[in-house]
């Protein structure tokens, strides 16, 4: 297994996530696309940790940290989305212009 095959798969998944973040209107769908990007980063990190001959396995450890932070991000993100839905009865990101000057 070469490292590059994992890097290209990670780049493809990451750009799918970028596309989803840019094109979706629903805030929950945007969060879903962000999860896709985080999964792509995890693939890269684990590939580095396994294939570069790192005795500290830093890639694996950092993938675990990324998973933890992603879980925290989803919790807070969905709480904010629910709060916005309660106040404005819509979670479409293009209708949230409250802070637009």
């Amino acid at each position: 297994m070469t490292i590059n095959q994992f890097l290209i798969l990670g780049a493809l998944l990451f750009s799918l996530g970028v596309y989803g973040v840019l094109v979706r209107r629903n805030a929950v769908a945007v969060l879903l696309a962000i999860e896709l990007m985080l999964a792509a980063v995890n693939i890269n990190l684990v590939a580095f940790g396994s294939l570069l001959g790192d005795t500290l396995h830093t890639g694996h450890i950092f993938a675990l940290f990324v998973i933890t932070v992603a879980a925290a991000e989803v919790g807070i993100g969905l709480a904010i989305v629910i709060l916005i839905f309660r106040n404005r009865s819509s979670v479409n990101v293009d209708e949230l212009d409250l802070m637009k000057w």
């Binding site: 799918l16 209107r25 694996h60």
Partner: protein, 174 residues
């Protein structure tokens, strides 16, 4: 290394199959009009990433992905969809912006930049032999060398837990 040699190795064949499934699932996540389908396809994509981690000898990370992502995060997403009355195809409101092509161009540029930068840096060489049964080593490292980041990240998780409760509960004064 030619493509024939590359595909001749069984683990690369597994990688290709899992990778294609992941990409199709990921495309589905960002394009489907039914958000529940999007969440379920995210499960497929994350399960594919767990399979790749098993292929790379990172069992602990793989099972953490299964437990945390597929077990908890996806359920959280489904709850979020139910609570915010997400569009489920029957809705006339479009789920996507009309400006699809600029987004596609940006995504293609991101892919080109990332793929060019990373592949030219590492080159097409065979990676080192994959070690198996790393769970003990990872546990040792996590509680010795990386114990301070570990504690910091657990504090982040605690703060997120409290923040989520505080944000989402109803104000008792109202």
């Amino acid at each position: 290394m030619s493509f024939g040699e590359w595909i001749g190795q069984s683990e690369n064949l597994v990688f290709l199959a899992v990778g294609i499934v992941m990409l199709v699932a990921g495309w589905w996540v960002v394009t489907t009009r039914n958000l529940v389908h999007a969440v379920l396809m995210l499960v497929v994509a994350l399960a594919g990433s767990a399979a790749l981690f098993l292929l790379l000898g990172a069992e602990f990370v793989a099972w953490t992905v299964v437990l945390v992502y597929i077990g908890a995060v996806v359920v959280l997403f489904l709850f979020g969809l139910m609570i915010t009355r997400a569009p489920l195809r029957r809705d006339p409101v479009p789920l996507d912006h009309s400006r699809r092509w600029p987004a596609l161009a940006v995504a293609a540029a991101v892919f080109a930049t990332l793929a060019y930068a990373t592949t030219t840096f590492f080159g097409w060489v065979e990676g080192g032999p994959v070690e198996r049964n790393l769970t003990g080593d990872v546990g040792d490292l996590l509680f010795k060398r990386f114990v301070i980041p570990f504690e910091a990240v657990s504090f982040v998780l605690l703060a997120a837990l409290i923040g989520g409760i505080v944000l989402a509960r109803k104000d008792p004064k109202e």
